[in-house]
């Protein structure tokens, strides 16, 4: 009994209940679009018509009508299906790398380009230390062509 009361208290609705049918449907589909259908292949609950997905949509609709907030509804499903149920995995643990990857790769690319440019500039202007034999030949040829000597 204590366990059941604790569960009921922990799940008090914290938002304003919706009663407009269209608003409830829109909110339900919006939330269902972010949840993964447990028995489908990479399909959202909103897009699936399986019984599990229908049940999940029914539950979302019930919670929206009762005034549960988005976070409470998402947590409700995570509690039952783990974070597996989220179509967009949370940026935590090793998942962080996936989220950081584009920025890291872009940074790496910029560093490579900057280093290449610096080296190219140095080879043309003669700065940046002694040139390798083939670089010296190329530099001389370039300067001849530009008639800067």
């Amino acid at each position: 009994m204590i366990a059941l009361i604790a569960l009921a208290l922990a799940a008090e609705p914290a938002c304003t209940p919706l009663d407009d049918d269209q608003a409830v449907t829109e909110r339900t589909l919006e939330l269902a679009a972010g949840l993964r259908c447990p028995v489908c292949q990479g399909m959202s609950v909103a897009a699936s018509s399986t019984e599990v997905a229908v049940g999940m949509k029914n539950q979302i609709e019930k919670m929206v009508r009762e005034g549960y907030c988005e976070e409470q509804i998402i947590d409700y499903f995570i509690e039952r299906y783990t974070t597996w149920v989220l179509l967009e995995p949370p940026a935590e643990g090793s998942n962080v790398l996936i989220y950081l990857a584009p920025a890291l790769v872009l940074m790496l690319g910029l560093i490579v380009v900057a280093l290449q440019n610096r080296r190219r500039l140095a080879s043309v202007t003669g700065e940046g230390g002694p040139l390798l034999p083939d670089e010296a030949v190329l530099r001389q040829r370039l300067l001849d062509e530009l008639d800067l000597d």
């Binding site: 009994m1 204590i2 366990a3 059941l4 604790a6 569960l7 009921a8 447990p38 028995v39 292949q41 019984e51 599990v52 229908v54 049940g55 999940m56 029914n58 539950q59 019930k62 995570i78 509690e79 039952r80 299906y81 783990t82 597996w84 149920v85 090793s94 998942n95 790398l97 996936i98 990857a101 890291l104 790769v105 790496l108 560093i111 490579v112 280093l115 390798l132």
Partner: protein, 176 residues
């Protein structure tokens, strides 16, 4: 590119970025894409329900505190449920008065469920779950799925495959 031209800084930086990424992505190959999520309600309070049986009698889980409960989700169209059913009936007979057994018809129509029970037998109440709300409340992903609820009203275990009689006995003995 000659050996002298290799920029070890860039190479090291690239490896630093790419290797962990490759590791994260490669670790995904070890996972079964068809595997269902593990139910994280295990050990937590069983969601309460008040449901009517197929013959119209209302029952609430909250009225059963102090008694272990077996909650089996099944369907008349489900072949594995049919192979599991005699084991549940036998266990319900053995633990009569000590454990409360309930079936919940899932993704079924009432007449088919009643007909199936008339054909294959019934020794405990079978409940009707309108809109599958109770099934979702328990994180059900298909049938058969069986939940073992202990005396304190917590989910002691969940089994998402057809149960054999010895498996049911083992799980119930652990709760009694």
């Amino acid at each position: 590119m000659s050996a002298e031209r290799v920029n070890w800084w860039v190479l090291g930086l690239g490896a630093l970025v790419c290797l962990p990424l490759v590791w994260v992505l490669a670790s995904g190959f070890g996972k079964d894409p068809h595997a269902l999520p593990e139910n994280s309600l295990r050990g937590k309070a069983a969601p309460d329900w008040t449901l009517s049986s197929l013959d119209g009698q209302e029952t609430a889980l909250s009225e059963l505190v102090g008694t272990p409960v077996v909650l089996n989700f099944w369907a008349s169209w489900c072949r594995p449920c049919l192979s599991e059913h005699p084991n549940l009936l036998e266990a319900a007979e053995r633990y009569k008065g000590r454990v409360a057994f309930f079936g919940v018809a899932y993704d079924d129509d009432r007449n088919s469920a009643l007909k199936w029970l008339a054909t294959h037998g019934s020794r405990y109440p079978n409940l009707w779950d309108p809109g599958h709300l109770t099934a979702v409340d328990y994180g059900v992903t298909g049938v058969p799925e069986t939940y073992f609820i202990d005396r304190a009203g917590r989910i002691a275990d969940k089994v998402a495959v057809p149960l054999s009689f010895p498996q049911i006995v083992e799980k119930l003995e652990a709760m009694l």
